[in-house]
């Protein structure tokens, strides 16, 4: 059998469509990937996971506030960090937990990748490559990850 290709690289030879054994159900079920990546703050959160697997909520809020803060050299205010923290704790983290993209440890307030993180990060990486990593620059055109 030629199965067991889990790196997501579909190296289709000329005109040859991948057969069903190669296409994982995850590829078919893209809805939750779009759902997860449909909010800019959740995309930042997933970028953070590409950098480091485990984050405290506090550090995550700090990092995302800094990434979002593009209009000046000075650090984002405590108010901004607080706003990001609150939106992570009350909206985005529980949503990603529900989608099995994140694990959240309530006692230590840390997040770690969940079962579905791999495919979401793979998709994000593909989109980023296609768009030259320019998060936040205009409406994201949902192109296929461009490959040469």
């Amino acid at each position: 059998m030629t199965g067991d290709r889990d790196d997501g690289e579909v190296t289709a030879a000329a005109g040859e469509l991948p057969d069903q054994a190669v296409l994982s159900p995850a590829v078919i079920e893209l809805d939750h990937i779009y759902e997860v990546l449909s909010h800019p703050r959740r995309r930042y959160l997933c970028y953070a996971l590409l950098e480091d697997a485990v984050w405290s909520l506090e550090d995550l809020a700090e990092a995302i506030a800094a990434w979002e803060h593009t209009d000046g050299p000075e650090a984002p205010t405590d108010q901004r960090r607080s706003a990001v923290y609150v939106s992570l704790y009350h909206a985005h983290v529980p949503k990603l937990v529900e989608e099995d993209v994140l694990l959240f440890d309530e006692s230590t307030e840390t997040v770690a990748p969940g079962e579905n993180a791999h495919q979401v990060l793979l998709a994000l990486r593909g989109i980023s490559t296609g768009l030259d990593l320019r998060e936040g620059a205009g409406p994201s055109s949902e192109t296929d990850a461009a490959r040469e």
Partner: protein, 120 residues
């Protein structure tokens, strides 16, 4: 002599048998849907005002588990042209000990539960 707030002193109604008595919020904030700040954040900040704590300390339970904030946002503040869609003036829900009311005009009001807390 105990009210030091500089907000409008509410006319405290002392009717308690009224099934839906006029209430005065313990905290309120205005949310502008055209600004990047999220509705979730605005609601939690208003709750923090009501509790007189840092917003990060509002951590009993994620708001996400109580109410679909995205749906509230869509129902009240969607800018898409609507013809026959149901358009509520406000949506209310409970969150921890509080009653939250989000109005179409952008005001978020936080009420304390009306029962037995401080009979006057």
């Amino acid at each position: 002599m105990r009210r030091g707030s500089d907000e409008d002193p509410p006319d405290a109604p002392d009717v308690s048998d009224d099934p839906d008595p006029p209430r005065s919020p313990v905290a309120q904030r205005h949310y502008n849907p055209t600004e990047p700040a999220e509705l979730t954040t605005a609601i939690v900040f208003t709750v923090a005002d009501a509790m007189d704590v840092d917003p990060r300390a509002v951590s009993t339970q994620p708001l996400y588990e109580c109410v679909d904030v995205e749906a509230v946002e869509t129902a009240l503040f969607s800018t898409e042209p609507v013809s026959s869609r149901c358009e509520p003036d406000a949506i209310e829900f409970g969150y921890t000990a509080f009653r939250i009311r989000v109005q179409r005009d952008g005001w978020i009001l936080v009420f304390e539960p009306a029962d037995e807390s401080s009979p006057e």
